[in-house]
């Protein structure tokens, strides 16, 4: 499977370095290595979801308890989470560190992903969620650390878009 193990390792290491100890996830192809790393790590609590919006509540509960968390999801999972993001995370100032696989953009071969790709960034902008497109493995440690810092200081959602250039090796 040409999902980048190298990039996945860099992302996971950066999450650990930022103190993330709970990850919620719904499997998607580009996230397989990250989910396995979380599963195999005795220091990490992995919560496998039925639907991504549950992750907003789980991250909120973890935050209230003082546990740093992150959400791993596909961009369609972000779309499925929007009510929770607005009516919980924004309403109650919950920091959500969202790592979103950016399907449906340049290079996408699966027709079913293409609509979600087109609306991901416009929706992030409409919601006022700060985001950064991670395109190179070299940028991963700094940008994940910065995203976590902004998330923690602003007490609001922050997104990192995991692009095809970062996650897929062809």
């Amino acid at each position: 499977m040409p999902v980048s193990l190298n990039s996945s390792k860099a992302i996971y290491a950066a999450l650990k370095a930022s103190g993330i100890r709970l990850v919620s996830a719904l499997p998607e192809t580009w996230l397989v290595h990250l989910i396995r790393m979380a599963e195999d790590d005795p220091e990490m609590t992995l919560v496998r979801l039925a639907k991504e919006e549950e992750g907003v509540g789980i991250s909120a509960g973890a935050h209230f308890a003082g546990v740093g968390s992150a959400m791993l999801m596909q961009n369609h999972g972000f779309l499925a989470s929007i009510n929770g993001i607005v009516s919980f995370a924004f309403l109650y100032r919950i920091p959500l560190l969202m790592l979103i696989s950016y399907r449906g953009s340049f290079g996408e071969k699966d027709p079913w992903q293409t609509q979600g790709g087109g609306v991901t960034e416009p929706l992030l902008r409409a919601l006022g969620i700060p985001y950064f497109c991670l395109q190179t493995v070299e940028s991963v440690p700094l940008r994940i650390r910065q995203a976590h810092e902004l998330c923690a200081s602003s007490l609001q959602p922050v997104a990192l878009l995991l692009t095809r250039d970062l996650m897929w090796e062809e």
């Binding site: 709970l22 919560v47 973890a62 919980f88």
Partner: protein, 192 residues
């Protein structure tokens, strides 16, 4: 059975727990009995109170977490039963007040009014302990047993579709949220 009577009858037990409620009548009624810093009222995001309880229970294994849910909310997130059951934290008690109605928006019947059984859904999803109760004495016994069992439990309490005259209280959302999180972070030992 009145939800307010149920809440009064277990209030002394809730005092020792980390409590998450849904919006509307449950939040207003619990506050009318007495707000505490270990109570968080999720005044929107319907369906996510149980997910919040799961996040709390996994992050605070020494505490007992009680979620006060409702039929309308839980029907919006039935997947929560399978996620709770998957991790089945021993310190999570999920109480669903089922009035078969979306009371706060005019009393429209929910699917539990036409036969959907939330305790059976919870059981089929893998929640190890489930029960449905229809009177207050049975409710108190079910809650007391569940807290003693230290096993993930869903209790469905069938209650009348009635609530307080108004839902907005003088406790602001953010005041509640920051008081709650600050309080949890001071906890060194279980409340119980």
């Amino acid at each position: 059975m009145l939800r307010l009577d149920c809440l009064r009858s277990i209030y002394s037990q809730l005092e020792k727990c980390v409590v998450v409620t849904i919006m509307g009548a449950i939040a207003a009624e619990l506050q009318s009995i007495g707000h505490r810093p270990n109570f968080f009222y999720l005044q929107h995001a319907m369906g996510l109170a149980s997910s919040t309880g799961l996040g709390l229970a996994l992050s605070l294994p020494e505490q007992t977490v009680v979620v006060l849910d409702g039929d309308g909310s839980v029907l919006m997130n039935l997947g929560t039963f399978s996620t709770m059951a998957r991790y089945r934290p021993r310190n999570l008690l999920h109480i669903v007040f089922d009035n078969e109605s979306l009371l706060s928006v005019g009393g429209f019947p929910t699917a539990t009014a036409t036969g959907t059984d939330l305790a059976q859904i919870a059981k089929a999803a893998g929640v190890p302990r489930t029960a449905t109760v229809t009177d207050c004495d049975a409710f108190v016994v079910a809650i007391t047993d569940a807290l003693a069992a230290k096993t993930l439990t869903t209790i469905v309490a069938k209650v009348e579709a009635s609530g307080p005259a108004k839902y907005v209280t003088d406790l602001t959302l953010l005041e509640n949220r920051f008081e709650f999180s600050r309080y949890l972070r001071t906890l060194k030992k279980p409340l119980r």
